[in-house]
Symmetry: C7
Subunit: 235 residues, 7 copies
């Protein structure tokens, strides 16, 4: 690749940005994460792995509250992702402070992506090594966005990320329906993640965050709720 | 090319700027987009592809409102384009605020191009990897500008961009007439884009933005309107 | 050239600045432009090419008004030239604001050249890839300056730039007389440009800007005026 | 590795950050350190080596008080660690000043990690060459965090760092129980460290810092206390 | 030279600054210029070449007024020299404004040289590619300084610069006398320049600036005066 | 070492900082210096060499007063050391000004080391090429610190630096006792330095700075005092 | 040397700073200069060469007044030296302004050396290519300091610099006595310089600056005084 891949401030002869493509490789290495949009809400399901018996998996968070009505997760370089989640929270608070209302989900996504884009056009920095999944409900309904290291984002009905992302997407494509309820969406998301996990999913190795249209509030499912869905899923 | 292509702050011995030329390669990789200027308005027709069945193509935007009287689209690196569209919107708002009237289309284009030029003359950054199409109506009539990564812009009667741009231009050159009405222009634009699409165009895979001289307002065609034009087109 | 040509902040062993020389190569690639100074005015004649039938050649400008009494054109890298023209306009307005009178032509030229020089002595930037032709009338009479990428400028009686510049200069050297009137100068300039054009010149493919000593006002010749000169020229 | 490992502002083609990985190598070279979380407190046990008989080992500190309720240690590049400990102290004081209460342990950890992340994404600097262990008690109970050069942190029940870290972790995995008291945790930590030391541990070659839930105060064990634990340990 | 010549911020192993030496090469390429100091004044004689018949040689300036009592010329990179002449004018005006009297010639020279030195010690810039000749009269009498790209200056009785500088110096060494009047000095300077010119010198191809001790005013010789000296010279 | 040693902002694959290690080489090249901590004070003994008979050795200082109660010396790159000594003096004065009391010895040492650390983590600078020895007495008793180019410092009972440092340390290890008086410590320090000197030590070639706990004042031994100790030493 | 000599911000593996060593090479290339300290004053003797018969050697200065009581000279890169002399003058004036008394000679020397040190530790600049000799008298008596490109300075009784420095030092070592009067010192300095000059020294080719303890005033010897000393010297 003859050096075109050494800097974010350089195009290759065929107009590619290698550093951005390499950052996407970093983003592919995380654990599997799935988002599903329903008619009455949106859900993110994340795999958690207990890489060591002494890790306090209860404190290990894969789905984050960004604002009352928005949750997010990411795959890739952990500290990069945390920086972006914190940045998202700041944007949401500022918006609420300035405009007196909650930030629209797409507007928030675009602001985050604008920061990510800066890190793809200027020398002396590297792109963020994460792909973000942003799920929320605002006055225009449930939304599910995926933001890539390039700073580009896409609106999805359902999507999968991480090591098992490709396999999870196959499950989603087979079973997704436009008229799904949130409960169906949760089940589908868990099924898609479960399909790529080693061993059976448990209330400890799954984390699920939802926002429903009725309350427009993000919350994580409790262990009891998770258990019920696992039973419905029959895995 | 012996390294002359590694920085925007370097000419090659024959006076070329390779990084700018590479950026134009990036700009050639987008989906096809066509602009046509009529006597009573101007139109941008953009191809949309459903790369995945789970993409929410309804939210996928290829033609953007910049200001009440101006629309724009771009081909190339997605997040770069979004940054420029946002910059254009900011310029339009500032102009309205300072001068109390709408920004002339060419003045807006020149301001955007001045920003693009800076990224071709200073080290440590790369050029913007997009070609913009800016369509609007102001007191001097309908206008169609194409702005390249170099920061140069040209006024066109009709033009095509992206992967199918060359083929679309052939259609335009064959059928464009200086006395076209906006309806004719819309049909021609759709025909040119359709000629390079795989499969038949639908209301889902085409996006059309127009500004007419009567209202001087940018708007996107509704699915109903699109359907009627598709029927007229007979494809 | 062993790397001496990679930066504007480096001399070669024989004291050359390669990046400046390469920028002059860029400046040689434009369409032909000719300037002629007469006893009662000064003229710039520029070739315009219709590279595509869909280009709106009426909007394609090669000779620009800088201030009431000054016009300018350039050959080379388009967006670089536009930046310098805009800078020239700003200088003229500022001068008028501060001193309450019009900027002397040479003073304006020197200010532009000072900016161009900065881009030849500092690292991390490249020289401007254009040669400017500045024509104006001030209290010291008609003036014609040519400013090169190095930031050097020369006062000419008549000069030619761009691809056909060398051939045009031969015409000028053969036929230029110190006692020419502005009408003679316009004819000579058109003849010199015509001599290097493919096909016959027309009112569409020539652009002519003049400043006469009587009014000290820059203006472009109308299509009617152009037509008359073309007829006189007999081409 | 072809140069991808020369800068923190560069991904390798497979999306790795080599400089961060190299920094982790630096962090592996320190003396062994172990942290253990109990139901009623948390402890850090650090090995101290008398590399020269003239070193004043009494002044050699491996476990530091960060704030009244938080202690910390690190392995790796000594002066880097000291900078981070001082930064942590500053954060704690500022929090107390602004909010009038003690800083939550995780919040402190995240702030430190945010600084560490900056040094992994920008050119012209290197990552911090240390791994930190942060132990504290706040209103949510005892906490034990490990922060890596990448800026990522993990919550552990028990963990080992440094040259003998791997071997110490084996001891911890074998003997750790979720219902341990602080006294049991101290004994386990000392046992794990002792298992990798050359020669018998003494009150001079071990340093132990604890925070208990009752007082929420960090303190180091006195030589007398250390002696008693050593006797219990029977080594 | 193994790369020691690539930056002004680098000495070669034998303590040389190659970029400064290369800049002196640039300074050797100008047309010939000669300065001669007399008991009652000082003169600069410069060669002008009509490289093209259409150049307006009347506007081509080789000797510049810096302040009422000081003139200057330079050989080498044209726009670099202009920047330094303008800087010199600024220094003279500021001095007059602050101290209410004319700037001493050596003080002015030193200030210019301080700027030139900065461009030899810091990276990211190149030295100025000119050698300046500064001639003036102040209360300490007539002065002639030569300032080199290194920022070093020397006081001369008479000196020659440019392509024919070496040959001109031979004439000066042979014929210079310490008790010369200004008229003798003018003649000697013209003779020295003439000795290296192709063809006979004329009022068009010589430019002569003088400052005499009586008026302490810089002025250029008129064509009539030049003609008389040429006749005395008998060339 | 494949380039990992070219910048302070780069780790080698095994987590080393070569530039810091090279700086330690520079620090090893100075003349021998020894510090010894006693129960009632602390002493630094430095070798001085008369490299030329015309050097004014009386003005050659190797042990410096930092503040009333602190002295310091260094080995390595002379001007680097002077900068740090001056920085130390500034810190001590500022502390006295802000807090109204003398700066604790360790606090001073840590501040100096923080500056040294900065020069090991950022590009475009090199580490300080010195190792400092800081001796002082504060309310916690006599202190002897050694600060390395990495920014790390260690508290010693006795230590040797410079070319003969290793050999001097052997003497110290053999003869140091924890209950030494300051007079014993001075004798031991002189013996250790003398053991590595060419020729016999004299009042001219030794410099001795002491701080005792009674006065908490740094002072240098007079030639008379030095002579007495030399006689006791019997060398 | 494998590139370790390309930047001041890099140590070589054996802890050397090549750029500083190269700068010392530059400093060795100047004409010979000698300083001698007497009981009642201090003197600098400098060689001047008439490299061209047209150089105004009367204006060529090798020994400079820094302040009323301090003189200085330098060997090496001329404009670098001038910058440091000007900096020294500024320091002296500021000191007088702030403290109301004359600057101590060593304090002045240290301040200059601090500036020189900065240019040895930061990238993007090169060290000053000069060695300075600073001679002055203050309340502590006559002083003679030599400051090297590294920023290190040494107090000398007598020293020689430049091309003939080594040979001059031999003369000084043979004949210097600690009880010399200023007149003896002047004679010795002149003898040492004369011993390395081609041809006999004259009042034109020697420059002598002295400061005596009685007046504490720097002055240069007049041609008459120089002549008398030359006669005493018998050369």
């Amino acid at each position: 690749m003859m050096g075109y891949d050494r800097s974010t401030s350089m195009f290759s002869p065929d107009g590619r940005l290698f550093q951005v493509e390499y950052a996407m490789e970093a983003a592919k290495r995380g654990w599997t994460m799935v988002g599903v949009r329903a008619v009455d809400g949106v859900v993110i399901v994340a795999e958690k792995r207990k890489t060591s018996p002494l890790i306090d998996i209860g404190q290990l968070e894969k789905v984050y509250m960004v604002d009352e009505h928005i949750g997010a997760g990411f795959v890739g370089f952990g500290s990069d992702g945390r920086i972006l989640i914190d940045y998202a929270r700041l944007l949401a608070v500022q918006y609420r402070f300035v405009y007196g209302e909650q930030i629209p989900v797409e507007y928030l996504t675009r602001q985050i992506c604008d920061l990510m884009q800066v890190y793809t056009q200027h020398g002396g920095v590297r792109p963020f090594g994460v792909t973000l999944m942003i799920a929320g409900v605002d006055d225009t309904g449930p939304k599910l966005y995926v933001a890539e290291p390039s700073g580009q984002y896409i609106s999805y009905k359902a999507h999968g990320l991480g090591q098992g992302g490709g396999q999870a997407i196959e499950v989603l494509q087979r079973e997704y329906r436009d008229d799904m309820t949130l409960d169906d969406a949760i089940l589908l998301g868990m099924k898609a993640v479960a399909s790529v996990m080693e061993g059976r999913p448990t209330v400890e190795t799954l984390e699920v965050g939802v926002v429903d249209t009725a309350t427009q509030r993000f919350r994580k499912l409790s262990k009891e709720e998770l258990q019920k869905f696992l039973e419905k899923l029959g895995v």
